[in-house]
């Protein structure tokens, strides 16, 4: 008669046992825990003091905050509208606010699998038109606002989301082109992808801002916002193409062969069989590229567009609020963090589901 080994009966969970297992399980681990606790005790209370206890939430200027010795959140309270919307006319700022909501809704809706396909494409197209009409105005009784004044958060979202939306078809074309057996197409796709992946994004932005106008016919000028948008599109397309290519390579050859055996032409094969599978696999790197693209919108400060960081710089240039740049940076960092973290959680949830 064989005796089977049995696991020890589970002991009821207790705080002490959890601490022992997780924080003090080996001597090295215990030492680390003590070290970390020591550092935390040294750092966290002064930080809390600065950020909350001594902080001023309302104050007339930075000197008043400095008198209390804490963070100057009053700067944010006074300037938040300028940081978020920049030089957009004060009375019309409901328009960029709605634009931001619209773009967020579009992004969130794109995450829902049930909408993938035609309804999503229509939603995006309608969204793009709605954004341009809302922000620019000139029709439907809305006063016209020059693209120079589309600043701050709406600018970042328009650049990133618009760039993603328009780069995506180009990226799919490039990825398909890179796997094509036709030498001309393949050479062009490879050259394009390697060119834009090899260049730093700032260089591409500079080319858009500085060189692009030289290549336009004399007398024709395109607003800087649209030139920078083109830079985003061209740049994102190269990275998205690599992500899609990864998805395409993960499809077994059998799928291609079966689709061809069914008598589907090349484009039908791609549209009905290959791309749906490939894109689903490619979503994590696609989302990663989008997160990178959204963070890169902060770089437009270097070509003279007024994004969130530039708005903070203008705010801290005001003599009353000169020293409040840390609070401004924290505010902007929080905004970027919220967006990027949400997107990366979404991507990770997709990975886990598979």
């Amino acid at each position: 008669m064989a005796e089977t080994a049995q696991a020890a009966p589970a002991r009821p969970p207790s705080a002490f046992r959890w601490l022992r297992a997780n924080l003090f399980n080996t001597p090295l681990s215990s030492a680390l825990t003590l070290l970390v606790l020591y550092v935390l005790i040294k750092v966290v209370p002064p930080l809390v003091d600065w950020a909350i206890v001594n902080a001023s939430f309302t104050a007339p200027n930075e000197q008043a905050c400095a008198a209390r010795g804490g963070a100057c959140w009053a700067f944010i309270a006074e300037w938040y509208r300028f940081i978020l919307f920049g030089r957009y006319p004060h009375d019309e700022q409901w328009r960029p606010a709605i634009t931001v909501l619209l773009l967020i809704v579009s992004l969130v809706a794109s995450c829902d699998r049930r909408l993938w396909g035609r309804p999503l494409a229509l939603l995006w197209a309608a969204g793009v038109i709605a954004v341009i009409v809302l922000m620019g105005g000139g029709v439907l009784g809305l006063p016209w606002v020059d693209t120079d004044q589309w600043n701050g958060l709406p600018l970042a979202l328009i650049l990133a989301v618009g760039g993603l939306a328009l780069a995506f078809p180009l990226a799919v074309a490039l990825a398909l082109g890179r796997q094509s057996y036709m030498l001309g197409i393949r050479a062009f796709s490879v050259a394009y992808i390697e060119f834009f992946r090899g260049l730093p994004f700032i260089i591409v932005l500079f080319m858009a801002a500085v060189l692009f106008p030289l290549f336009l016919p004399p007398g024709v000028s395109i607003a800087k916002l649209w030139r920078v948008e083109v830079a985003f599109i061209l740049f994102l397309a190269a990275y998205l193409a690599e992500a899609v290519r990864g998805g395409l390579q993960a499809i077994p050859r059998g799928q291609y062969e079966a689709a061809a055996a069914l008598g589907l032409g090349y484009w039908r094969q791609m549209r009905l069989v290959i791309l749906p599978q490939a894109l689903r696999i490619a979503i994590p790197p696609l989302v990663g590229t989008f997160i990178g693209g959204f963070k890169d919108t902060a770089l437009v400060i270097i070509v003279g567009l007024f994004d969130l960081l530039q708005d903070v710089a203008v705010g801290t240039n005001d003599p009353s609020w000169r020293g409040a740049y840390i609070e401004g940076y924290a505010f902007v960092a929080a905004i970027y963090f919220v967006f990027c973290y949400a997107m990366s959680r979404y991507s990770r949830s997709l990975e886990a589901r598979r």
């Binding site: 801002a209 106008p213 003279g304």
Partner: protein, 342 residues
């Protein structure tokens, strides 16, 4: 091979279509009239020259020059659009056509006038380069700056003059080169650099606008270069160049004749033939410039003469407290000299 022949035909056909197109001239004046605004590239924030106020409106000598051009061309000094530019962006913004004129305390040099493709209108501010240091450093002369760290903006004549001056005087220095003016000023006031160098008017503007206590900083006596600050336009558009040029001369000429924004209405009734020609009472000059005959009247009425613009932005009642000096009228010891309106 057949395919290669096809290929060759296609390329040749397309190239032929493209190269057959001839150059079209793009007059700036037409563009300005169709857009309805004069677009000027100005400083991101230099007190007295180009500085946005709380409402985002740009104030300063350069901003007023831009408004004068708008008044001359469009009849309304408010029809302006300002593009704030750093030193590294200003030339490409003008070259690319984004801006119609560069009014951004820019020095007139031969290379900019020729190689870089710009034409410079009359000088609106004669200046020179200097150094500013903190008073507690105890420095009395620029010759004591050997080994110092000096804040300077890139892409400027300032940068080049600085290197030349130290080379000539056999001194060395470490540059701190930051493109954004606000960051550079912060670096100087936080003590990161020992000295800040730019045009002396810029030094005064920075001290007036940014220093917590202006008396803690002293501008050293040495003037190490000539910095004539003038508006710039692109090569290849004589019509627009003439308009900008004569707008400046109108402002100077009005001061020569003693006409201010308050007295210009009365000057319309003047018997002086020069004044009558300038203000359009005797027609001819407006037509020659392809502008309305009241172009100069609009400039003076809506913006003022040169003296008024100077006093309003950088004069003795402003925090900058700059003297007229070289910028006074020619018959009062300065260099401001309007060409004849005839």
């Amino acid at each position: 091979m057949r395919s290669l022949k096809w290929f060759g035909f296609a390329v040749t056909a397309v190239l032929g279509l493209v190269w057959g197109d001839s150059a079209r001239a793009g007059p700036t004046l037409d563009g300005v009239k169709s857009r309805g605004v004069v677009t000027c590239a100005v400083n991101t924030g230099l007190a007295g020259f180009g500085m946005p106020d709380q409402q985002g409106d740009y104030k300063g000598l350069d901003a007023d020059t831009c408004r004068a051009i708008a008044a001359a061309v469009l009849g309304d000094a408010k029809k302006v659009k300002f593009i704030p530019t750093t030193t590294q962006q200003r030339f490409t913004v003008l070259q690319s056509g984004e801006a119609d004129v560069l009014t951004r305390n820019t020095t007139w040099t031969v290379l900019r006038d020729t190689e870089q493709g710009f034409n410079f209108a009359p000088v609106t501010y004669y200046d020179g380069q200097g150094f500013m240091v903190a008073k507690k450093a105890g420095i009395k002369s620029a010759k004591e700056l050997d080994g110092a760290t000096i804040c300077v903006q890139p892409g400027t004549t300032t940068e080049l003059n600085l290197a030349d001056y130290f080379r000539t005087n056999r001194m060395t220095f470490k540059p701190l080169v930051v493109e954004k003016l606000a960051e550079l000023e912060n670096a100087f006031f936080s003590g990161r650099c020992d000295a800040y160098t730019t045009d002396r008017s810029g030094l005064a503007a920075t001290r007036a606008g940014k220093a917590s206590n202006a008396d803690d900083y002293v501008i050293l006596p040495e003037v190490i270069s000539k910095e004539p600050l003038a508006p710039a336009v692109r090569h290849g558009d004589d019509e627009w160049f003439d308009i900008v040029k004569w707008t400046i001369y109108a402002m100077i000429g009005a001061e020569e004749k003693g006409i201010t924004s308050g007295s210009v209405d009365e000057a319309l009734k003047s018997e002086d033939p020069d004044v009558k020609r300038m203000l359009g009472v005797t027609p001819g000059i407006g037509k020659a410039l392809h502008l309305d005959e009241k172009w100069a009247y609009n400039v003076i009425k809506q913006v003022g003469n040169y003296g008024e613009v100077f006093e309003r932005n950088v004069g003795s009642r402003t925090p900058l407290k700059l003297e007229r000096g070289l910028n006074g009228l020619w018959n009062q010891g300065g260099l401001m000299y309007a060409m004849p309106f005839r």
